[in-house]
């Protein structure tokens, strides 16, 4: 299977949240049933953040202008990194890359350790305390395997979300960025082409990465460091075992003499053993 990607074009997004709800619909994710469990977020962004039952939200941010504002939207969900920190961090192999680039948590294997939660530079995976499992977008791997678009993409009214061959999506994104620049959006740029080995969610950020809340040059950071300990540990342990084995081999026939002490003379005598 060729590598595929979702492309999000912020300049076409109307923040209707169709994707946000379609994600819940398809993935059968509940929302609370009682008013006390909802909070006022002081923004159109609601819920405030991703959760184990919300794998995609639209982020809203505002910048004041003389007439109107710049209202910047961003699709907040998993980027499906090529160098996926979560996958590296997962101690039980529950997170895997699919051939098309989707990064998927196998819920049967997940043990809820939250190492992926800790490692993700985008703060995407979310742990559910009751289930003791971690959840995130899986790019609707069931749908894409059957030749369909992810639920968020197929429901997008304005084609702000598209899905297809990753190279093709990058091509569209490049084309769109030059269109936007020509139309006066000087800060328009692509996100996801090379970040973390290449993301499988490509973003056209028409007002620039910062305006849309994207992390410029994201790093895996510590995850990589402590992943590095694994081979180090293996080498260290291997070297120790080898060294001790050598020591054992060399001293295998060693016979120690019988020591005794005479307090009176304060002398230690050794009787060799045959």
């Amino acid at each position: 299977m060729a590598e595929t990607a979702i492309m999000y074009d912020s300049s076409k997004c109307t923040a209707c949240k169709g994707c946000q709800v379609a994600c819940k619909q398809w993935n059968q994710l509940p929302s609370p049933l009682s008013s006390e469990l909802f909070e006022y977020t002081e923004s159109f962004q609601s819920p405030r953040d991703l959760s184990s039952n919300t794998w995609l939200i639209i982020n809203f941010s505002e910048e004041d202008k003389e007439i109107g504002i710049d209202w910047n939207f961003m699709r907040n969900s998993c980027f499906h990194c090529t160098d996926a920190a979560c996958e590296m961090a997962c101690p039980v192999g529950a997170i895997s890359h699919k051939d098309n680039g989707a990064v998927v948590i196998d819920q049967d294997k997940c043990i809820g350790c939250r190492y992926c939660v800790a490692s993700c530079p985008f703060d995407v995976p979310r742990w559910d305390e009751a289930k003791n499992k971690t959840f995130k977008c899986w790019q609707c791997f069931d749908r894409t395997s059957a030749g369909r678009e992810p639920a968020c993409v197929s429901t997008c009214p304005t084609d702000a979300l598209q899905f297809g061959d990753r190279a093709e999506m990058l091509g569209l994104a490049r084309e769109r960025v030059s269109e936007l620049k020509a139309a006066g959006f000087n800060k328009a740029e692509i996100y996801g082409e090379n970040e973390l080995g290449g993301l499988h969610t490509i973003v056209v950020a028409h007002r620039g990465l910062e305006a849309h809340g994207l992390i410029r040059d994201p790093k895996i950071g510590l995850t990589e460091f402590w992943q590095f300990l694994k081979p180090l540990g293996a080498i260290g342990a291997g070297a120790t075992v080898l060294g001790l084995g050598f020591s054992y081999f060399m001293a295998r026939d060693y016979k120690r003499g019988e020591y005794s002490y005479d307090e009176a003379t304060d002398t230690v005598s050794v009787k060799e053993v045959e």
């Binding site: 209707c16 009751a130 540990g233």
Partner: protein, 200 residues
């Protein structure tokens, strides 16, 4: 050679004999086979409908298994929405079913009214009643009101055949045929106070 780090890990991993040690050098791809999950709507009965919210008239496809709605999404063949739906459109599923936040199980939206209810004068709560009783009682009330407040001929001698004491509100959420029948029924009662959402 353009190897991503992931590819690199794979290669170095593969160069070791299979076994736990290899795992220390990379993520666990070797143990996560690309199993293709079956779509949960496989084998469901599908039918089409039109969204109940705004006037765009988006098409949608509903999937039903064992007599219960299990999925609702935009109709990809529909020339207006081509598979798209907004947040409300997608949430139409919730009009009937929700997922229990505790168990994740599919269940009927607890806010749906599924029983006939009656509120007596001065009562503080509803009581549940039978359909037949309610229809009969409603018809009796309509008849009493109509018979007591009927104008057959107005002050100018014009036959007007109207009853000004009954109002009929609503209809924008009904199907066209229902709307036709509801206003037909109202007019046959002599009702002149017929209004719906288009006015407001």
């Amino acid at each position: 050679m353009n190897l991503s780090r992931r590819g690199f890990f794979k290669l170095t991993g593969a160069s070791f004999a299979a076994g736990a040690l290899a795992e220390l050098f990379g993520p666990s791809n070797a143990f996560a086979a690309d199993e293709v999950p079956e779509m949960r709507i496989a084998g469901a009965t599908e039918s089409t409908s039109i969204c109940c919210y705004c006037g765009v008239g988006c098409g949608m496809v509903l999937s039903v298994k064992d007599g219960e709605l299990i999925n609702l999404e935009g109709d990809p063949d529909h020339p207006i929405n081509r598979g798209a739906l907004c947040s409300k459109g997608n949430a139409q599923f919730n009009i009937r079913n929700v997922y229990d936040p505790e168990t994740g199980e599919l269940m009927l939206n607890p806010a749906r009214v599924t029983k006939v209810k009656y509120r007596a004068p001065k009562a503080t709560e509803w009581e549940e009643v039978e359909w037949d009783w309610a229809i009969t009682e409603i018809a009796k009330r309509v008849k009493a009101t109509r018979d007591a407040n009927y104008t057959a001929v107005d002050e100018n001698g014009v036959t007007v055949n109207r009853c000004e004491a009954i109002g009929n509100l609503g209809g924008a959420a009904l199907d066209g045929e229902e709307g036709y029948v509801v206003q037909k029924l109202a007019r046959a009662l002599g009702v002149t106070w017929i209004e719906h959402q288009a006015r407001i």
